[in-house]
Every structure is written in C-alpha cells, then in structure tokens.
C-alpha cells in the first residue's frame, strides 16, 4: 500500500504528501448558467466555480446554498449532479494537506443579484475573489485557476 500520494499547491506545484497527514475535505460547487453566461469566481490565479467545503453536520443542499450566496449574492437551488472528482491539495488557508472529494452540481437561480462585495474568508480576500458572469463562448480563453478540468465539467452540464 502506498504511503504517499502526489498532490499540488494552489499554484499547481506538485507536492508529495504523506497519506497519514491527510484529512477529508468534502466540497460542493455550483454551475450556474443563464443567458449564455456562466457564474464564476475571478481570483488572482485564475477563474474557479463558486462553492466550498461542507461543514460537519451540514447537508449538501445547505452547503451549496450558503457558499454560492456568500460568494456571489445569488440564492440557488440544485438541479442535477454533474461530476465527482478526487483531488489531493495543500489547503492555502490552513496549510493542511487534504484529500478532497469535490462534487459539482448544475444549479438555478431563485433570487438575488450579483454582489460585487461578497462575504469572503481572509484568504479569499487576499486573492481578490469576486463573482463574474463569463460568456460561455469565452470559456476556452480564460485562465482557469483550479486543479480540475472545469471547462470539461461545465460542458458536461450543458449536454
């Protein structure tokens, strides 16, 4: 049985991680598409999807509503599960190595409007995170700041 696994930091550098140091992170992300645009989070190191970690004792529904509302200003509802990905990375806020199970859902907006001053964690503030509607036709041209192949995952949700 392997004792280490290959992961990465937020800049994409490969790091060897001890499996015994890993802890779980279960996270959920919303794919929200409206009028040929997708709701994304723009950060210093590229674009990602709104979402984040589930708290212990929290339902998936609640976690996705909370994260998307905090980061974008929209109240959303889950429509369909799109993808699940395993990823090993050094969490930038806690400097901790995590085994992440990342769950992607297509969602639709119930209410709210784009909040240019979202409710952010200190780390998110330092990366200048802000929500933005990105034209689907621009998806191939923007810089993705995420270990997952977000473009393929987003395309899967359109099919």
């Amino acid at each position: 049985m392997n004792k280490t696994v290959l992961g990465q930091d937020k800049d994409g550098n490969k790091i060897e991680m001890n499996i015994s140091d890993l802890s779980w992170r279960i996270s959920v992300y919303g794919i929200v598409i409206k009028d040929e645009k997708i709701l994304m989070i723009s950060q210093n190191f590229g674009y990602s999807l709104p979402g984040g970690g589930i708290d212990l004792g929290e339902t998936i529904d609640n976690a996705i509503r909370r994260e998307v509302l905090d980061e974008t200003g929209y109240n959303v509802q889950i429509k369909k599960i799109i993808d699940v990905q395993t990823s090993f990375f050094r969490h930038p806020s806690f400097n901790k190595d995590v085994h992440a199970i990342r769950i992607f859902f297509s969602c639709e907006i119930e209410s709210g409007e784009l909040n240019e001053n979202p409710d952010l964690t200190p780390a998110e503030k330092s990366w200048n995170s802000k929500p933005e509607w990105v034209e689907l036709s621009e998806l191939e041209n923007i810089k993705i700041g995420d270990s997952a192949d977000l473009v393929s995952i987003i395309k899967k949700s359109i099919k």
């Binding site: 339902t59 395993t86 085994h99």
Partner: protein, 160 residues
Amino acid sequence: MKKVEGLKMSGEKIIINVDDLHFRPSIYAIIIKNNQLLMTKFGEYGYFLPGGGIDLGENHIDTLIRELKEETGYTVKVGDLLDIQTAFVKSPVKEKYSHTIKIFYKAEIISENPEDIILTESENILNFTQEWVDLSEVENLKMAGDDGKLLEIVKNCIKK
C-alpha cells in the same frame, strides 16, 4: 452544543452531537444484469448496494473497483455517475458517528474471481452476503441504514 437528527443502521432516528461526527465518504455501484440488481445484505439490518468507504489517499473510482472485488469477487468497469446522498449515522458495530457522503455510479461486470473475496471484520460481524435481486422485487426489500433515498436512486437508474 449543535445537534443534528441522524439514524441508526436499523433506521431508528437518533440525535447526534455535531462534535462527534466524522466524514465518511463512500461509493457504491448499481449493477443490473438479466433484470436483476446486485445487492449486498447485512444480516437482519437489510439490503444495500455493493461498495464501501473510500480510504484516505485513494481515488474514489479505485475504491469502487477494490470494494467490488473484495465484497463480490467481480471485476467491474465503472460507468456514469448517478447520484449522491448524505446522512448522519451511528455505526452498527462501534461507538462511532459518521457524516456519510455516499456516491453512486453505474457499473458493469467484466470478469468474476470468487477467490478475490476478502471480507472485513465488520462485514463478518454483520453476516454480510451478496444476492441478485429481481428488479420487480427491489421495492419490497428492507434497506439497511437508509431513509428511502436508495430506492429512489435505483428506480431512477432503471428508468434510464
């Protein structure tokens, strides 16, 4: 202290302290062949799907292939992602409370090697067995540690 409503494997509702919870991500397969669904049975607790807990450091798809081999002796090819379900449950064999994240994939059997079967201590205690169940019979079965969502997931998969 923050509390949530959870359940025992018997289906009985219990109140759990959030501080006692640990994440337990797991993965299960829906395998249908000749109008029968491959199910696992935990003695008196009832039926569930083959699969099990993801180990730290292991890709979830590898977990599903490993668990199927250990529980049923089947080598499988993992297909489409079907659904996901979370629950707060008490372990039937230990004083342990889990925040479960169950991931369901469709899968198909490639080959069969009964000598690959290795059951865990918990599975032996729970009198674990496997069974092919007629699709028309699935909704009459008692499911283990489930709030009704499992049947819905299986039904949705059959419809596809």
